[in-house]
Symmetry: C2
Subunit: 248 residues, 2 copies
Amino acid sequence: MSIGFQKNLSKGTSGSLGDQVRDHLRIRILGHEWEAGGKIPGEFELAEQYGVARVTIRTALRSLETQGLIDIRHGSGAYIADFGDSVRAGLQELRSITQTIREMGHKAEMTTRSSEVRKATASEAKDLQIDEGSDVLHIERSITADGSVVVFSYDTFNIAELTPSVMKRMSKGSVFTALDSIRKHPVRARAEIHAISSKEVGWGRDRPRSGLYLHLRQVHYLRNGNPIFTGDTYFVEGKFQFIIHRTV
Amino acid sequence: MSIGFQKNLSKGTSGSLGDQVRDHLRIRILGHEWEAGGKIPGEFELAEQYGVARVTIRTALRSLETQGLIDIRHGSGAYIADFGDSVRAGLQELRSITQTIREMGHKAEMTTRSSEVRKATASEAKDLQIDEGSDVLHIERSITADGSVVVFSYDTFNIAELTPSVMKRMSKGSVFTALDSIRKHPVRARAEIHAISSKEVGWGRDRPRSGLYLHLRQVHYLRNGNPIFTGDTYFVEGKFQFIIHRTV
DNA sequence: CTGCTCTGAGTTGTACTACAACTATAGAGG
DNA sequence: CCTCTATAGTTGTAGTACAACTCAGAGCAG
């Protein structure tokens, strides 16, 4: 039985066949199609399901193994890595925060505090690989899960990579889906992680008393290696469970 | 020209050929054999260098791409991801802390504060998938880089997986190299990340004033899926630069 | 000379086949 | 009941072939 793969998913997915299969398999895994520790179908059967060659399945599985989602055992099969439900909030997967919150079963809302075009600072120019003083778009937002603030973010975009319509979109919804519409979806990010205790970060009456945050200083890159935007994201400690899967 | 691969590296490496090639290529990449953004040899040439099939090279490259070390472009080649030097401290790579410190060019020292066999708590028993009250080995250590404390760690091992000689080794050197000697090297870890401000964590006169730590709550797993040890690792904020590469 | 299109060599992506290496299970034999 | 062995099933590696894509250079039009 074929899944009718390319036709069903040609809109939402992109990249090579192997990448499409990987993304589709990830959805099936996170959707609990197989129980934790359970065995997924063999490579031959998956190849038949998707209507692709076994080598294509293998590239997808290899990627999922490196991400820690599955465990491939020679001569036996591929098994769902037993990490419990928390796998969904994997830090190393570059995904929309709001979307992640929603997939965990909570209600996510985003509020834009300010959005302005200004000149790049020295640090921003260096990260974005542009000249100091070039125009950048700076956005300050907060994200809530089930009504309580979990994230404060300060993002700065290289305006040369954007279009006016995208800039408008970003104030309303997810940054990632907005960038997706002009095929400028970042495929890679480099993040520095810090613990910080500060009263200066958040705003509003819902700002946490403790002032304790997990701070991600990020630079997002396109497939061609160019940086598209940089930002400081502050996760309110205790409100957002951060999981990371470490592999050899 | 062949690298004489299997012979040179059969001691230090393990796993499939693809894993060995991946590990060797990672060393070459981190050793700056190619400049950032530069192109590495083609798959055919690498296959010839290592004396393996192209499909084996591809599995290794695919893994390195998922880890964010390289960027593969269809019809063009594989390029070194331009992240600067900081790639060496990648959080998602499961490696010895002391070894990571040394590779960054600093002097690493480890001090064991205490090492005792006791009964597992409920939480430890759950993480290690053993019965509550089973014997576990609990070790408290601190790690310094260039003389200043960067890490306090509290680790708890499932004693059933250990041998007496390994337990002695672990008090002296790296946990990972000790476990390697009995082929119980963890291949995967699940870590929760927290920001914490506490005076209770560290000890000694070098304990940081701020009490601000990046807290990793980890469970380490063997290839067969069994947990081998769990632990709380506290990184002194500001002393250790944490980098994470996020990919789609 | 400048700028454009097109061609072609080079590279990665996918398909197919074949066999080696390994695993897990069932069954024979003690 | 236990141990060993045979065997079917699965992943790992090799080899070949071609498709899809990239990039630089040749060639042409202006």
